[in-house]
């Protein structure tokens, strides 16, 4: 038996499409969560003290070995648990993923100026575990509830102390990693319960699902946090976590760690198109190191009503409601309007990405919702030089383009730490002439 605590990886491919045109460039590719192994994805819907949490699993082993233990701040009723569709999270991932866009230079003989568009900132409950109740009591463990939801069998456990709970989990074939006792004890003293889910193979077979679907829990709590401490115990090295926060007022940030915007809106060489995934991974690693491995990174913050350019369409009101955006019901419920899908309003999405371990992230992530509705996206730009026939003296355009290509090469080296000479060797400078911008002193050009 293997335990999985908030660790999972969602498999998606990098989609390539050049159909959408917008202010902020033509969409080329995106860097979605499939770039990182063992990535967990969590959707947090929050308004006031109401929270709906959706946890995505793409467990790689046999489902009979799957189990998840999650600390929860309150008792959870059967009706507060749901199983969602993987496609929801895949869509949210695609919509919010960092993106590569492109611009094509116009014919220099028609006009020389380049437009730089500024980004606008804008079953009723059934007993499923037949455990020896006396043994449970002897261990001080209380099974507060047991439910069967979709393909999952779920227990809500509380305990007097951690040793009893750890022993109980061990006796019930949950393989708890060493060191868990202390962390479990800490959560128990904070009046937290444990949400334990494993797969009911018969149910799964009858439902016909092959992948594990995301679990959802809705609860009320003043604590706007995500417990990550158990997750650091059974992992070797760092874990990748994506948090998608869906809120009413604005961007979400961590209050106990620095939330940093990733460098964005940077021009990079054309060849990045074919290796956008590697580019993004290396850039993320470099930025993480630059922040002493202690920062949470903002990858996307946007009003859910639109996008520019769109890496995927915004989520529909139905999709958002399925993810737990409970306040949308008020809007469409009134008047009984059936005109769907409508663009979702009143939802602000924040995508946070963190690479964590216990050394650099000793404490659980604590969040707050801010009033900041300024739009932000991880956006990287490639500019295609004009390749048509030039029927005029375009030497100025060509020189400017070569200098731009050199800048793009340097940007790429700065962002990723890749070797500048290797980058330069792959840049198709116009006319195969590389401008020696570094070695020419600025004063030499003044009187030429």
């Amino acid at each position: 038996m293997r335990i999985l605590v908030l660790t999972a990886a969602i498999g998606l491919t990098i989609a390539i499409s050049t159909t959408a045109q917008a202010f902020c460039g033509f969409y080329v590719a995106r860097a979605d969560t499939s770039l990182f192994n063992q990535a967990s994805q969590v959707v947090l819907v929050r308004d006031g003290n109401r929270t709906v949490i959706t946890m995505a699993n793409d467990f790689q082993g046999h489902v009979r070995d799957f189990a998840v233990v999650i600390p929860v701040p309150t008792f959870i009723e059967r009706e507060q648990i749901n199983v969602a569709d993987n496609a929801l999270i895949e869509h949210l991932d695609a919509y919010t993923a960092p993106r590569l866009v492109e611009y094509h230079d116009p014919d220099p003989c028609v006009r020389y100026e380049q437009r730089e568009m500024a980004m606008s900132s804008g079953s009723p409950a059934s007993k499923v575990f037949e455990d020896d109740m006396d043994r449970d009591r002897a261990l001080g463990v209380t099974i507060e509830a047991s439910y069967s939801v979709g393909e999952y069998d779920i227990l809500i456990l509380s305990a007097e102390e951690s040793n009893g709970l750890i022993t109980w989990l061990d006796e019930n074939d949950y393989n708890i990693p060493p060191g868990a006792g202390r962390v479990v004890d800490s959560y128990l003293k904070q009046d937290m319960r444990f949400f334990v889910a494993r797969v009911n193979l018969e149910e799964q077979a009858s439902l016909g699902y092959t992948n594990l679907r995301p679990l959802q829990i809705a609860f009320e709590s003043n604590r706007f946090m995500l417990p990550i401490r158990l997750g650091t115990l059974n992992a070797s090295g760092k874990q990748e976590l994506y948090v998608y926060a869906l809120t009413r007022s604005g961007r979400v940030e961590t209050t106990n760690y620095r939330t940093v915007r990733l460098p964005s809106n940077t021009e990079v060489p054309e060849f990045v198109e074919t290796e956008f995934g590697e580019f993004y991974r290396d850039m993320f690693a470099k930025q993480t190191r630059a922040q002493n491995e202690r920062a949470v990174f903002l990858e996307y913050a946007w009003d859910m009503a639109w996008c520019d350019p769109c890496a995927a369409d915004p989520l529909t009101a139905d999709e958002l409601r399925s993810l737990g955006v409970f306040w949308l019901r008020d809007k469409t419920g009134r008047g009984g309007s059936k005109i769907l899908p409508q663009p979702a309003q009143d939802v602000f999405v924040t995508r946070l990405h963190v690479s964590y371990d216990s050394e650099h992230f000793p404490e659980d992530l604590v969040f707050q919702e801010t009033g900041d509705r300024q739009n932000y996206q991880g956006r990287y730009i490639i500019r295609r030089p004009f390749t048509g026939t030039i029927n005029c003296d375009a030497s100025a355009y060509q020189q400017a383009t070569r200098e731009r290509q050199e800048r793009e090469a340097q940007n790429l080296a700065n962002l990723t730490g890749w070797d500048i000479d290797e980058i330069r060797a792959r840049v198709p400078y116009l006319g195969d002439i590389r401008p020696e911008t570094e070695s020419i002193p600025w004063w030499r050009r003044i009187w030429q």
């Binding site: 202390r182 004890d185 800490s186 003293k189 904070q190 709590s221 003043n222 604590r223 706007f224 946090m225 007022s249 604005g250 940030e253 961590t254 209050t255 106990n256 760690y257 620095r258 939330t259 940093v260 915007r261 922040q291 002493n292 202690r294 920062a295 000793p362 404490e363 604590v366 707050q368 801010t370 009033g371 900041d372 509705r373 300024q374």
Partner: protein, 273 residues
Amino acid sequence: MNIFRTLADPRYYQIAVLSSLVIFGVCILDFGIHWYNALALIISTQIVQYICMRVAGLTPFDPLSAGVTSLSLTMLLRTDAIAIAVIAACIAIGSKFLLRAGGKHIFNPANIALVTLMFCSDNAWVSSGQWGSATLGALTLACLGFLVLTRARRAETTIAFLLAYAALMTGRALWLGDPLSIPLHQLQNGALLIFAFFMISDPKTTPDRSSTRIFYGVFVASVAYIIQFVFYEPNAAIIALILCAPVVPVLDRIARGRHYRWESPADPRASNF
């Protein structure tokens, strides 16, 4: 004017440190502080201070306290609306002249502006996690420098608050069986240091006697702990200070002491604002 007497006014040091921190935050740390909001805050606090002093018939005009208030607000208040910055200035300075007891203002001006806007507006918030551990060393040094330069006069509140808060965090970790890296992480918070050295330290809104100041520091730390770990509200210390402030006039009545006066202004009455 005696230059040494003038420089003995701790507000010069506060303004120097806070200005450096604002510039550092804007240029290096990407705090999300908009320059125009900062400017609006700094100018409007001075205007409101000027108007209030004129109405109260106080001379000469003393820009220092309003300067410290505007810089504290710039550092802690986040907003995307310039109007919020102006309203913050009005609340902060206005409260000094309107909400008074026993010849002192009750609330720290920046504190009351922050809390009022945090709870009344969707467009105002405080980003407490934005300092990062890398910059903490420099910040600690700046804060300790403040203690040295002012010879720790009236610094009992700051010291008592920090020690009590550290003790509570450590105690909680020991009770929960958490590693000590957790309380250490909780204490390595830039916003907490700014609060301790530039907000709760305000000699005008702390009790007049040394013993009551120590009690007050511990009291604020305890309330902050309850807000953070019972009610799980962010920005606990800032909220705690506003809740505890009305206790000061009571403490002053129980244990009378000497009102604090800033060193520089000529008119002793003006130094009360």
